[in-house]
Symmetry: C2
């Protein structure tokens, strides 16, 4: 297929590379920032544009991968081409595209992307929605050309998935950052913690996370919790996060038999 | 070495298996619960006891792996043997052992263990502390016999490491659980999220977590954050956690250029 990419961020970068690797042709890459557009366009052999007026009809599908707030204003400038338009957002209704055309869909990769980190796109879950069965099938075909994990997901379901992903990925990564800050404030290296982080995620490949919860809160180990809170006396932000999450863990579990 | 294990939980199970695999002899396994003691003792070829009075002097070191609150009361019942005593806790001072003997140390594995999940113990960071240089060296030798990642860590440093681990591991795993609950309440499978969780952890093998933070909060995407909070209107607990962590992420980062 001929594909036009609207955006040049992490999602745009990884999705367009996956399309190119699968043999599709990236026609144009649009970004408000010409340097960003040019960099990605160069990598995927496309033309760079920084003005929506310079978008051409020489394409089969527009894939929109910009900040959620910016999606709605872009649609009316693309719908005149009468081509398929899909956005890549977890949180935005398909309706924002359907308001302008029935050639509307969603192509949501449920993954965290960073420009500097490669990953195997064939394992990325792709959540597909189409305004019509024809559109859905066309998007599914495109999705299967780059991933083995393609799901049909309604707008309502997608929003739940996206919200769950914020907890499981974005908030989790922020906890990594907080732990790194804590170590560095005390002149210790984050490297010591890395094996623990990897194992924590590795565990849930085969287990339900509730079955492998560890730590002072699940043991209701009040002495340790109180000591930790004392250590955080000068850091009210971390103290609040510690308290809230520990209380929630204590509420969620019965305590054990004294072994740890 | 001849090793006596006090405790039969996750840490006791994994540490004693690692000792046995490295050729050490596990003399006895103690647990208040005879069934637990017997199960672990069977696996590592040791004698099971459920009364501290039945502990024998036929050992070189006592490794204490019980709930933090229970450590202090056990020490005086072991110190009469005049053997090395080390606990495995991240949060308890070495002093609780040193109050009774200079043959005191800490043998703290900075890892999350579950009985049903095997792992490569040679990659587990072991944080060692000894009351004397001789004790430290003896514990280091024992540690190196089962792991490639052995660190000398003071009680003060160890407490920071343990606190950081609560954020990076225990709280992270709880976020996994919350995301699973959210999906299951909406009749969706946690499987869809698993690749995202693995990739989120995989990223920080080579990156600093602050450099790979993604999601609505780091983009300061207010529309999406407001939509998510609305979706959580009937779940005040998740709403509070979402608000607190999002605010903290927004405070930590400058926002980007509109691409995502």
């Amino acid at each position: 297929m001929r594909i036009t990419i609207i955006g040049s961020g992490n999602v745009a970068t990884h999705v367009s590379a996956a399309f190119k690797n699968a043999g599709h042709r990236i026609a144009q890459v649009y970004s408000r920032d010409m340097q960003n557009a040019a960099l990605l366009a160069y990598h995927v052999g496309a033309e760079a544009v920084n003005d929506l007026k310079n978008i051409t009809a020489d394409t089969d599908i527009f894939i929109i991968a910009v900040k959620d707030d910016a999606i709605a204003e872009i649609i009316p400038q693309l719908s005149r081409f009468k081509k398929l338009i899909a956005h890549t957002s977890g949180a935005v209704d398909m309706q924002v595209i359907q308001n302008f055309t029935e050639q509307a869909g969603v192509f949501y990769p449920l993954q965290t992307f960073s420009k500097t980190k490669e990953l195997n796109f064939r394992e990325v879950p792709l959540c597909i929605e189409g305004a019509t069965e024809d559109v859905t099938k066309e998007l599914e075909g495109l999705a299967r050309s780059i991933s083995n994990n393609v799901y049909r997901v309604s707008s309502a379901q997608r929003k739940i998935l996206h919200l769950a992903a914020v907890f499981a990925c974005n908030f989790t990564n922020h906890l990594y950052t907080l732990s790194q800050q804590l170590l560095e404030q005390n002149n210790m290296s984050f490297d010591t913690l890395r094996p623990l982080i990897i194992e924590t995620a590795d565990k849930i490949k085969e287990h339900s996370p509730a079955d492998v919860q560890t730590g002072p809160a699940v043991r209701n180990d009040e002495q340790t919790i109180q000591k930790h809170l004392q250590m955080l006396n000068n850091n009210p932000k971390l103290r609040e996060i510690y308290t809230l999450l520990s209380q929630d863990i204590i509420k969620n579990y019965n305590t054990g038999n004294g072994d740890k």
